[in-house]
Subunit: 298 residues, 2 copies
């Protein structure tokens, strides 16, 4: 996969334009990549397990994870990676992010009562396409569900008043289903069309190792000291990773702390001219995705 | 003051570029405007007094106001206007926004104990230039202070271990001061250089009336149904207002509800292709400012 990255202060007008106008190359099913992704960008966001190191109030801790979940959902991020950065909240962050991403009607099935979820209710609902209300099913409709065996048959809870019989080859557990018959209610396993939600990866590995594992096409670090996003020239295509630091340490500091090095395609300052001394991780995620969203091809 | 606004789908590449590249006209002291603003944009953000209509938890209410404060500070917003939209929290929002904007060392002087401030501590600190630590004063340094009369003399608390004697013409109350002598500590009233903080205006008036009072050069409404920001062509100069709706109602609905009409220079969708059903006001403020920040001339 081709990568391209240059920066130049003197080419400001030109690169300005190219940043936002570059036609996106189509991304035909690369070997080893998700087959369904036909075009455009798959966003991956990388946050440290120290995200909450300065937040002690349990309600606010849940709310902040909810802010990350909302930012990811608003901008169609498909993967959130939690990398090891000396924090203790990896498991907590993952659980809450996954809880937020799960349709309300599946939460009881998938999440046992656990202390991490005590304040999960403060997270704003994501209202993403997979979070469908209970309504009369339509043929062709796609709904997120949970498949379970009953005797020799497989049924799925797809958030309606009755279970659906699963036809075709499917596994027990969470899955995506398409309604093929309403009376009786029957579904087949399917793949979602368009944005559906995100997956959460808690690698327990340091940043460089996590990035390697993610196998990205383009990797962007965010930093106040990075290239002004208006002056950067970077081609976004395929699997694009955006890396954020922690409340106390920037991305480069975190790498140094773990004796790591990583050759980013670009280090971007997405908030040129910021007036506050620091920008918090949850703020940087939303602001950066808002800026990079303008580069999407859709 | 000249205004210019067109939209055209076919001119995408061209307008894309112009959106972000248009050279900003200098804004020489217009009659009746702040004399000190010499160039660039003065941002005004408009939020409804119904901002918290869906937030009942008192800690989260304070935190959300803090999110607005942080977004404004990060992007150098100088005016936050709270317009009447059927909410009951105008006073609460104003108090918390002002509290967040006040340097820590002046808070006790300016804010009596009041129930609104009970959870003010959950708001993240703004860390703006006016929030200076207690350190050895330097001649020429500018600090925010509070002036008070003692006998025939005027002193100012500028957050140091001793009060400063105020020379020149100054009033009692909050003000900005420049250190002209360290031993003895003397200051003169001055105007801040660069971004210093924001003012909060609670008009108790509906949106159209509030906008009229604000006397802006350019007024932008934000709406999911607006023009894709990548396709909009709008000249930003002088006093630029950005209007946000409430959690339940968009800007146009709020206007209709109060039988008002307003001719915006442009209605912008700053989050093209959003994947969530709605975007919350505090999210829209941060995302929109992040996008429009790229149009600043500095």
């Amino acid at each position: 996969m081709q990568k391209f990255f240059t920066t130049s202060k003197s080419r400001r007008v030109e690169t300005f334009e190219s940043l936002l106008n570059r036609p996106l190359k189509h991304h035909h099913s690369l070997p080893g990549k998700r087959e369904l992704r036909m075009a455009g960008i798959t966003w991956h966001v990388f946050i440290p397990d120290s995200l909450l190191e300065e937040t002690h109030d349990p309600k606010l801790r849940a709310y902040k994870v909810g802010q990350i979940a909302r930012a990811a959902a608003i901008f169609g991020v498909e993967h959130i990676w939690i990398y090891r950065a000396g924090g203790r909240d990896g498991r907590f962050i993952k659980t809450l992010l996954e809880y937020a991403e799960t349709p309300q009607y599946l939460r009881k099935r998938l999440f046992p009562l656990m202390p991490e979820l005590r304040y999960a209710g403060v997270m704003p609902p994501l209202q993403i396409p997979s979070h469908k209300p209970k309504e009369s099913p339509r043929i062709g409709e796609i709904r997120e569900g949970f498949a379970y065996r009953k005797g020799k048959k497989l049924f799925a809870d797809i958030g309606l008043d009755r279970p659906a019989l699963v036809k075709g080859v499917a596994q027990e557990g969470r899955g995506t289903f398409k309604v093929i018959s309403v009376k009786p209610l029957r579904v087949v396993p399917t793949k979602p069309e368009g944005y559906w939600g995100y997956k959460v990866h808690l690698t327990r590995m340091t940043l460089a190792k996590t990035l390697k594992k993610a196998n990205l096409d383009v990797v962007i670090a965010t930093s106040r000291k990075g290239v002004d996003v208006r002056r950067a020239d970077v081609t976004l295509e395929g699997d694009v990773g955006i890396v954020f630091g922690s409340p106390r340490r920037g991305v480069m500091e975190i790498l140094r702390e773990f004796n790591e090095d990583y050759e980013f395609d670009v280090i971007l300052n997405t908030i040129p001219g910021q007036k506050t001394k620091t920008v918090r991780t949850e703020e940087a995620v939303l602001a950066t995705l808002a800026v990079l969203n303008l580069m999407r091809g859709d």
